[in-house]
Subunit: 205 residues, 2 copies
Amino acid sequence: MVSDDIPDIVISRLPVYLRALTRLLIEGENDITSGQLGQRLGISSAQIRKDLSHFGEFGKQGTGYRIKDLVEQLRRILKVDMEWEVALVGAGAIGHALAHYNGFRDRGFRISVIFDNDPAKIGTLVNGFEIQDEHRLAEIIQARKITLAMLAVPAEAAQVVADKLVAAGIKGILSYAPINIVVPENVYVQQIDPVVHLQRITYYI
Amino acid sequence: MVSDDIPDIVISRLPVYLRALTRLLIEGENDITSGQLGQRLGISSAQIRKDLSHFGEFGKQGTGYRIKDLVEQLRRILKVDMEWEVALVGAGAIGHALAHYNGFRDRGFRISVIFDNDPAKIGTLVNGFEIQDEHRLAEIIQARKITLAMLAVPAEAAQVVADKLVAAGIKGILSYAPINIVVPENVYVQQIDPVVHLQRITYYI
């Protein structure tokens, strides 16, 4: 059902659909048309229907989508019908914000370990987590079979830490370091850099 | 030279090129081929050449790009050959991380004012900034002619604050709130939500 040739741009929109639909569910809604969903998201209804059609038949002509079913399907497609443990590397300002972020819950992810290489930070608590020595990164990640990591270290350290994460078995990295990290083909990287996003805005202003 | 029909996906890659090229310049490099740049970024050289060709003729067959020139062109295209003042709304964990982020400098942006609606925070300092009362948002943004904002408020407050920002003259919003905000067509929104990025990773794992 999930074919390999679905464009990445389609995949990139699915989490946004899931987020909006989950919110609708919380608000007590049961059904929604692609047009209504599109209005909420600033995406055309045709685009939404086309995106979802890659994964089979959802919704009915006229009545639209049953939100609960579509949420379930999207969670399954994005593999967040389970909870992923995530390793966080870097307990600076961004790492702290991530450790305190309550938006992971019920969306498929849970930070389960935090690493830093600063002796002054190791052993201290962040939101109830004891910061672990980065030297124990491979040991802990392997023992817990963690496959996802968030990288919140300075640009200068990012590639070295990424290499360690990959060697430890990490298959996906969300990087906040403002530098491109190079990883093997079977490891998936997403980057968050506010400046990259701001520059994409200023182009259009 | 800059035509309106350049796909947004191309625009989204330009800041990544600019970031990598700026780093190469700092490392003392003068020239680079599209193949070398592609290797650094995990993007094909053909893609890079095609993306840049939208904006005119850069580089020479064989010798590649003069990095300094390409950086200048990209800064001009993305309109970061100037410094934009940015208003930050929300002095929670994410707002603090943004206020302390030193990656804005020399990349076109400077946070110049921080707002919050919490009486306990108003008047206190974050990285040298006095947190302003959110009630003064319109007044200050208009007086300083600020057109860019970063939104780091809870999901529940995001739309209301976004409406205030737009009314005050903001033309671009980088939102960290895990909800889709609706704005007029002439306002550009980019969203940063770690869960959306993580779900895009887990799809592929």
